[in-house]
Symmetry: C2
Subunit: 540 residues, 2 copies
């Protein structure tokens, strides 16, 4: 017996069609570089995306060709999100925070033929343009300056095909998007999303248990559109008909709060540091901004501190913790409370909400120990988090030697250490490379750091492994004290007792002035490991 169902491929044009037919009047608002607000609609965005698709095909774009973007969050970027895939192309978002060297490497590796770029970012482009393969550079003008020589004006380009565009046939396995991971080690690696993976990922966005996006929502993606497609939320807005508000380059707390208030935003998305700044501003000027009651703030990129969840709860605003990776399109999990948990004491609820949560839709997860065995879901045993699902990468593009990121049975090794509790909630405890392997046990450096940073004298703490003749590795704590504060190693050791397992307490403490950081503000532990490579622990 054979199925009798239609063979309708899951493609981005389905999402564009839905936005244009049912949500044509819904607004798309963009903050311009000069701070003015540009207002358009989903109907216009999709119409112009189709015109852009026609222009790309006219200009010689072939199926699978890369259309790079170097832009802030705004409507023309959204048009490119749809225009390139509609034409059968691949939208490749370049991260404007990377160095010119990285950008030229990535654009070359990706073989980007087209580039759509903000005029305000032309100075950055100039730093690597000579080393990049772009054949056509299309400039979105926000200022009165003409597009420079050798470049095409975006508006002229969009209108160049006279609005003619015939939707080409697309397979759901055709590529439609490309993002590079900005790993702290090794070369950036590219993940090529397909129309299928994009549509399936998008279908999770409206789930009531999760992000719960809907037509009556107004979404402000603070997360850049060059960062894993702004977590896929713009495509989710097309499916649901949610209003979009783009912040452009103005990402400081004041500007964001003004925009949240003015456009009556109901959902926003960004990394914890953004929300910390917002909470600070709200506390400093209580009552200044009238935000929508129940405003949901999706936080991802790194763990959501419990204090942040509590802080926003006091203002009637709700932080929703999501976790993902470039290799996961990116949504991997979301922390929402199961039935019955709303009756738990508040502190317990916050503890659950601070976890990475339950896997999204069709994503499967497991924790695996060093011997390759699945760890039990007891909320205690640590293992490497491995994932599988229709919107998870199966390889990097053109990157030999990276196959060890996948298991023999086809699961992706996230490089994160996890415990999974009996209810299925994920709790990420460390990166595998930051784990300390001591006497056959795994010590979570993150857990020890967080405990240490609970001490009033400690401003920052990083915990790294140093070698030990008997235990193989033991933890060393590197501590920055607050200005004028004092605490001895003995004092800190005593403070940790009872807060972490006794064998997790560091063997030594080093006091320094500042912990080296990555460009995105995370601790650069590889530098610390290098610095303390030959460290002699007391008694060794």
């Amino acid at each position: 017996m054979r199925g009798t169902m239609m063979d309708v491929p899951l493609t981005v044009p389905l999402l564009a069609d839905r936005a244009a037919r049912y949500f044509a009047d819904v607004e798309v608002v963009s903050r311009q570089p000069d701070r003015t607000l540009h207002r358009t609609t989903w109907g216009s965005v999709i119409g112009r995306a189709r015109a852009l698709a026609g222009a790309l095909l006219n200009a010689g774009m072939r199926k699978g060709d890369r259309v790079a973007t170097l832009m802030w969050n705004h409507a023309p970027h959204l048009e490119t999100y749809f225009g390139a895939p509609l034409a059968g192309g691949v939208v490749h978002t370049l991260n404007l925070r990377l160095s010119p060297d990285d950008l030229s490497y990535i654009a070359t590796h990706a073989q980007d033929r087209f580039l759509v770029v903000d005029d305000v970012l032309l100075p950055l482009l100039d730093k690597f343009r000579a080393r990049a393969p772009f054949e056509k550079i299309i400039v979105v003008r926000h200022t009165p300056r003409e597009a420079p020589a050798g470049c095409i004006d975006y508006e002229s380009f969009v209108s160049s095909a006279g609005g003619r565009f015939d939707q080409p046939e697309l397979s759901e396995q055709d590529p439609c998007g490309l993002c590079y991971t900005s790993g702290t080690t090794g070369k950036p690696k590219g993940v090529v999303y397909t129309h299928r993976s994009t549509v399936l990922h998008t279908m999770f966005v409206p789930f009531t248990d999760g992000l719960a996006l809907r037509n009556s929502d107004t979404l402000l993606p603070v997360v850049p559109m060059f960062h894993v497609n702004a977590w896929g939320l713009p495509y989710g807005c097309a499916l649901t008909g949610a209003k979009l508000v783009f912040p452009g380059p103005h990402l400081d707390a004041q500007n964001l709060l003004d925009l949240l208030e003015r456009e009556r935003v109901t959902v926003a998305a960004g990394v914890p540091t953004i929300w910390m700044g917002i909470l600070d501003a709200l506390e400093k000027e209580p009552g200044r901004w009238k935000l929508q009651p129940g405003l949901r703030m999706i936080v991802g990129g790194s763990a959501a501190p419990e204090a942040l969840i509590r802080g926003f709860d006091k203002h009637g605003l709700r932080l929703i913790h999501a976790w993902g990776m470039t290799e996961m399109s990116p949504l991997g999990s979301c922390s929402w409370l199961k039935a019955g948990m709303r009756e738990m004491p508040y502190d317990e609820q916050v503890r659950v909400r601070a976890k990475q949560g339950l896997p999204a839709g069709l994503v499967q997860v497991r924790g695996v120990d060093e011997s390759g065995r699945e760890v039990p879901w007891d909320g205690q045993t640590q293992g490497e988090l491995q994932v599988r699902g229709p919107w998870v990468a199966s390889s990097y593009t053109d990157m030999e030697g990276s196959e060890d990121r996948w298991t023999n049975d086809g699961w992706f090794k996230t490089g994160d250490v996890v415990t999974i509790d009996p209810q299925g909630y994920l709790n990420l405890t460390d990166r595998t490379k930051d784990l300390i392997k001591s006497g056959g046990e795994w010590i979570s450096s993150v857990a020890v750091e967080n405990a240490l940073m609970g001490h009033p004298a400690v401003k920052e703490a990083a915990v790294v492994a140093v070698s030990h003749p008997k235990w193989v590795e033991r933890p060393l704590a590197v501590v920055v004290l607050r200005d004028g504060a004092r605490a001895s190693a003995e004092e800190l050791r005593g403070f940790l007792a009872g807060r972490v397992h006794s064998y997790w307490v560091p063997d030594a403490f080093e006091f320094i002035d500042a912990i080296p950081r990555t460009s995105t503000g995370k601790f650069l532990k590889s530098a610390l490991r290098e610095k303390y490579r030959d460290y002699r622990l007391p008694g060794c």
Copy 2:
């Protein structure tokens, strides 16, 4: 450039795995034939479904083999919903309200090898068993009686494989379900759902704009599991972890209300007549049942009268109008209010909620006139509703001569007449075969009937086409007056003026005692058309 995403097939085992891993403790409650409540959990249901799958394979089931069910709504039926597909089989739900002749035709056409049947339905089975192809009959016992000779006890069968089951590899194109349409004309026709179509359909169920199913919900499907898989809701419960409450054979208002109250149901689903009975009971005994505030009642199967929506609103209960067909898995559309509509006057809101609503997720729609042109979305122009989507049928199984239900470009012709308004809301006005084609215009028989039934003297009215020398067809109204009431043709003609287009007013009125009905209570218009085939209109 090729995509780098995992090739994870969309299969029912993904849903089963999710229910078992994350929602194992969530209850599944079934009302037994003796009215007692049987309580189990999703964990147990999936465990037993896997054991059933192992037993089916042990018993010689091959990939694609049909496993028929003849059961009420309860946990063992749910186990079969998962057990047969997990084993690579096709669950084929037999409609226990059909005649033994139809059942034997359908079981034979489907080549059902296995049957799982309620012991309380054995008398029905006996009427067609000799004419059906079942090789193994497995009896779910609700009473102390032994399974009859030649049959296997369900519990013994489930435990026969000793719990051994290795999940076979499945393709997402493999068939997993089979339902027959119970058309009023012609033979029943079968639609074969695939794992892919089932999973994609299931992913729409948790959409916030729509049915919004979530883990904290308790769902009572009054709609039978033999009626298009209870609208796909049981699979939606597995995905979301919602609690399920099955009514068994007890579908009267009192029993349903008791169950809604007792199990704190938050979502229920059924046809309008069920909800009419419930509303009646609530009005007769105000305060007797304490229902969950905001209880959503999904209504489908036929149009939701506005009065029903208003009636439940007064009790703080919310009727949600959904539309679908066996050929659509079945969810085709759902009526929810767009942003801004909640500020409309109440009457206008109800008018929108009574429409068939906006297409579900990835479903595409169009209205097409007799010349094959798409009609405008003006809320006025009627056309046949045609649909396309990944969970829509592309043919019937083994049914030559039914190809005319699909267009040359692959859309399914629903047989419904629709207007689509500028916002995209569907409004079904008639069945194509009941339309009256008069002078090149389409007259909606349903609209004229509804207007006529607004007259205080009219109990029932059906409007059918009779032939006319000039206009090809003209409407004839067949009217049943209320006991003791009087109204002349002249009076009714005057009443319709201003209520419908002038050329929609019937040319003649016939007064009869009762309108013939189908077994499900709908007007049997084919009988009326036959009766008035040679009707001479006045002046012709």
